[in-house]
């Protein structure tokens, strides 16, 4: 049959219709429609977390000196959540934002994957992976070389604390090696310890029984913003705020800025910054004058009261103090009376989070106020919390080189004639190195980030450039690690054993042990093991100083009889021993800590603001926390500074507009946030931003507040007492 045009069309149309009908009567279109609908809902690049057995493990958070108990929730081997540990004596189930964001620190791209050596220039972030043996060998070569040249004292070591076995292993290493330059980073603990030495004659720090007090007078302490052990303090705050219809405690905040603590307080007294000591002594004046002090305690348990009283009565009348502080005499008198009559009053010291040493006189004046109401070592009062670095280890064997090195004075001058009572003066280091580039030939840094946390960032950077050899033991690519020559990464705190000292500011002694709750994620090594491996390779007496096989042996031995309890429950809460020393009143009129800068060209005062949602110490603020910042603190990558609208009016500044912030130490463009919560004439700058280390998730946001601040030496202690700096703001 001939296939004509017509037949062709008939065939095609027929077959097509048939095909259509066939398809329609088959499941194909209906099934495909359904599948395509599902397909549009499936985004295969969206991760699907794996399921599995859920388990929980307890350990201790090591991200700040608050040391909360934490419980990690695990799904098979993965940590999916960090929660507060129920029943832990410090934080009983609560957690802070940083602690909860510890997950991001564990799994983040800022982890150092293994031992690395710098390639290219410092700070360029070019690294080459090397083996552990090679990394340790490099450190040993360098350190042996310095030793053989008779310069062991040019090696310095910085750690964040000197409490606990790991910092003590570093300290011991330094002694065995022959350098007196073991240094702890700065904090309010420096001043607390010094004050306790002077007032109580003890190696101790200050613990506050916040929970039992019924009148809290805080001298600028950020009680709910990270001061002390943050969760514990917030929980104490909740106790003060509860009570049947009546608040359980009165809270008074002395601070020039409406911080969260000030906002939550019953009374907020913005006094002229830097005059807190005068206020404390003025309050003492009223208490003595009205005979409201605890005479039994003062007569029996203190010394030096008569002379101190004379000073307070002659120089700190409410009228005088009113002129200095800007607070009316009536308010001072009323506050003093309310404090003394409260029953269980407590005066608290330590500015902000307590990350800077501060003024020794201020600390002593606040402690004296507590002594005046008989509030020392008793319920609801100030406690002497003993701080010991003696772990009962055998004496360090020293060869000739070591004893000669150890015989040299410390570079920072601590413990020398000028600063006899101070143990460490870390803020001095940049100056020392910049003045004498030969001073430090090698620097070891463990669990600290001095490059970021030390005042005067620009000078710190200069000093780092001058140190020929820097070894970091950091878990993360923090700023110090980024500028090191070698990184020998420590295990993450969720991956390792370590004893955890008592929380800062806590009046009870809680000894904890953190334990690995997750498998080691990278090729890291416990810093305790690393430092011992270095010592053993160095040989001789340095090696002999470390008779232990590994860090676990060190830990077990140091924990002694407590080990079984620690291994079982993770902590031992000890009954604090009450030291019986007398409280000493120190009768010296205070000298105000002068601000650096020129009051004419720099008419404003820049003060740091420490925020609960912003980690301001050695740990970079993880992305979770950065997200929680207020829109008036950070916008994009631009940092806000807080000024009163009145100040803005005086200097032509406008809300949310750029301005140039300048001090003697640094200069940067910032945004202006107008706030009625800050005293006119002040500029508040959030502390903890402006990271350059870690990676793009953390770096480049805002400016480091430390880069504007210089070091102002406390006239008595020699510690850094910087609380602000003169500044200029010009609109741009």
């Amino acid at each position: 049959m001939k296939l004509d045009r017509r037949a062709f069309i008939e065939l095609t149309v027929g077959a097509s219709l048939g095909a259509g009908a066939g398809i329609t009567f088959s499941p194909l279109p209906w099934k495909l429609t359904d599948d395509v609908a599902i397909w549009t809902q499936n985004w295969p690049w969206t991760p699907v977390p794996s399921e599995g057995q859920v388990s929980h493990a307890d350990t201790i958070c090591n991200l700040c000196p608050g040391h909360c108990g934490i419980t990690v929730r695990k799904v098979e081997g993965r940590v999916t959540k960090i929660e507060g540990r129920q029943g832990y004596p410090v934080n009983d189930g609560g957690i802070c934002p940083l602690g909860a964001a510890g997950l991001q620190l564990l799994y983040g791209p800022w982890r150092v994957p293994g031992p690395v050596r710098r390639v290219g220039k410092r700070g360029e972030r070019n690294w080459e992976r090397i083996s552990w043996d090679k990394a340790i060998a490099e450190v040993v070569t360098k350190l042996s070389d310095l030793r053989s040249k008779g310069k062991p004292d040019t090696v310095a070591c910085i750690t964040a604390t000197d409490q606990g076995t790991v910092p003590q292993l570093f300290s011991r290493f330094m002694e065995a090696y022959g350098s007196p330059n073991y240094i702890r980073t700065a904090s309010a603990e420096d001043t607390n310890e010094l004050a306790m030495k002077l007032l109580q004659g003890k190696d101790a720090s200050v613990g506050y029984d916040l929970e039992k007090a019924n009148f809290i007078l805080s001298f600028g302490s950020g009680l709910i913003e990270g001061w002390g052990s943050p969760v514990r303090t917030i929980q104490a705050h909740s106790k003060w705020r509860s009570g049947n219809g009546k608040k359980a405690a009165t809270v008074v905040q002395i601070e020039p800025r409406l911080s969260n603590t000030a906002a939550k307080a019953d009374m907020w007294y913005p006094v002229n910054p830097g005059t807190e000591t005068a206020l404390a002594l003025g309050l003492a004046h009223v208490i003595i004058k009205d005979s409201l002090y605890d005479s039994t305690f003062v007569n029996n348990s203190t010394s030096g009261f008569a002379e101190w009283r004379k000073m307070v009565m002659s120089e700190y009348s409410p009228g005088d103090v009113s002129a200095t502080t800007g607070l009316s005499a009536a308010k001072i008198t009323n506050l003093a009376r309310a404090f003394a009559k409260a029953g269980r009053p407590l005066a608290v010291w330590g500015r902000g989070k307590g990350t800077t040493p501060g003024s020794l006189y201020e600390c002593m004046a606040v402690l004296a106020l507590n002594a005046l109401v008989g509030n020392i070592n008793k319920s609801g009062g100030v406690w002497t919390t003993l701080r010991s670095t003696d772990l009962g280890w055998p004496e360090v064997p020293q060869d000739r080189i070591a004893s000669s090195g150890n015989g040299k004075p410390r570079l920072d001058g601590a413990g020398t004639q000028n600063y006899p009572l101070v143990k460490y003066r870390p803020d001095e280091l940049p100056k020392i190195i910049n003045d004498n580039p030969e001073a430090i030939q090698a620097l070891l840094v463990h669990e600290a980030d001095p490059y970021f946390t030390t005042m005067d960032t620009n000078r710190v950077a200069e000093a780092f450039e001058k140190i020929p050899f820097i070894v970091s033991f950091s878990t993360y690519f923090d700023e110090t690690a980024q500028h090191a020559d070698l990184i020998l990464p420590n295990d993450h705190y969720l991956e390792r054993w370590e004893d955890i000292p008592s929380p800062v500011g806590f009046h009870k002694e809680v000894l904890g042990v953190s334990r690995p709750v997750v498998d080691r994620q990278f090729d890291t090594k416990h810093a305790g093991d690393t430092v011992m491996a270095i010592a053993k390779k160095l040989g001789g007496t340095v090696a002999n100083a470390f008779p232990w096989d590994d860090y676990e042996a060190v830990l077990k031995e140091a924990m002694g009889a407590d080990w079984d309890t620690l291994a079982e429950s993770g902590y031992v809460a000890k009954a604090g021993s009450t030291p019986s020393g007398k409280f000493e009143f120190y009768a010296k009129p205070y000298e105000p800590i002068e601000l650096e800068g020129d009051s004419y060209t720099q008419p404003l005062t820049l003060i740091p603001m420490e925020l609960m949602r912003l980690a301001s110490g050695a740990i970079g603020n993880p992305p979770f926390c950065t997200k929680t910042l207020e829109e008036t603190e950070l916008k994009g990558n631009d940092l806000f500074v807080e000024v009163n609208p009145k100040t803005a009016g005086d200097y032509g500044l406008a809300d949310e507009k750029y301005a140039m912030l300048e001090t003697y130490r640094g200069k940067a463009k910032v945004l202006i946030h107008l706030s009625e919560g800050i005293m006119p004439g002040l500029v508040g700058i959030p502390k903890g931003l402006g990271h350059t280390g870690y990676d793009d998730y953390l770096a480049g946001k805002g400016v480091n507040a430390n880069s504007f601040m210089g070091v102002v030496e406390d006239p008595v202690s020699g510690l850094s007492a910087t609380w602000g700096i003169r500044a200029k703001l010009t609109s741009v």
Binding site: W43, N91, M612, K627, T632, K635
Partner: protein
């Protein structure tokens, strides 16, 4: 304060026990620390980006702590923090229902009368964002970007909560998966009811101040039952009749007053930053 339970109760649907989960947040205790926000982000696999800071228009938050101010001049200025999860509005009667549920053209969100929880089904949502416009509390957020975690960080994701894809709306679920988990446990012990302490949201658990109390608003044995009736208790934008299940308490009058003021600087002198 209006009484929370007068209508729409007692739906004895199916054979399940009827709960009405809600929260009472003590603003006197809340310190604005942000632990609730972080705990929520960790619990609910909330993504973040390199550029992320805190831009309210684009950032993903289920729980957000707002800072409000009385607008006073120095030194009479005062601030208060206000944590804001989803209010899980119940609405009143048939004409004034949950604002987001009524507008959703995809039935991607519904009000569960057995739990009082407003759901959000991501695979069902097509991202029209009507619900975001309808919600008076700004609790809903849109996924403008693909959720991407830096290499290695997917390890911490919680398998109980599905990570959301780009282009859908999400919001606080009162950690509904925790109720599912608690129910599993209860069922395996041959009981239907879930105890108060077995189902707590991540923010409640994390709050170091103990400012958040969570439970069944209709159960006299749960702490929230009494707390919501305290004289200082209030709800946000009560005037709209959304009948939210999140209550706040504050001893400060200006804070209570601020709860019903919507437009920032206009009028009341209360500013919302």
């Amino acid at each position: 304060m209006k009484d929370a339970h007068h209508k729409g109760e007692g739906h004895q649907e199916g054979h399940g026990t009827v709960y009405k989960y809600g929260m009472v947040i003590n603003l006197d205790k809340c310190t604005g620390c942000g632990a609730c926000m972080v705990a929520c982000m960790a619990e609910n696999n909330i993504p973040f980006r390199k550029e992320d800071t805190n831009d309210r228009l684009t950032q993903n938050f289920w729980m957000r702590v707002y800072k409000i101010s009385n607008g006073g001049s120095f030194p009479d200025n005062d601030i208060c923090y206000l944590p804001r999860p989803c209010m899980h509005c119940e609405g009143h009667g048939h004409h004034n229902r949950t604002p987001c549920v009524t507008v959703c053209p995809a039935v991607a969100t519904d009000y569960n009368h057995e739990t009082g929880i407003v759901s959000q089904i991501y695979t069902r949502c097509f991202g029209c964002r009507y619900c975001m416009a309808a919600c008076p509390y700004h609790v809903r957020v849109f996924n403008w970007w693909d959720p991407k975690w830096p290499e290695g960080m997917e390890e911490y994701l919680n398998p109980d909560v599905s990570p959301r894809m780009r282009g859908v709306v999400e919001k606080c679920s009162f950690c509904f998966h925790r109720l599912q988990r608690a129910r599993n446990k209860a069922y395996s012990e041959d009981r239907r009811e879930v105890h108060e302490d077995e189902y707590q949201t991540a923010c409640t658990q994390a709050c170091p101040a103990g400012a958040i109390t969570f439970g069944d608003l209709t159960n006299p044995e749960h702490k929230v039952y009494e707390l919501k009736k305290t004289p200082n208790a209030f709800r946000l934008l009560e005037v709209l009749g959304t009948n939210p299940k999140v209550y706040y308490t504050s001893s400060r009058a200006w804070v209570r007053k601020a709860a019903d003021v919507y437009v920032g600087k206009e009028g009341s002198g209360v500013t919302h930053t």
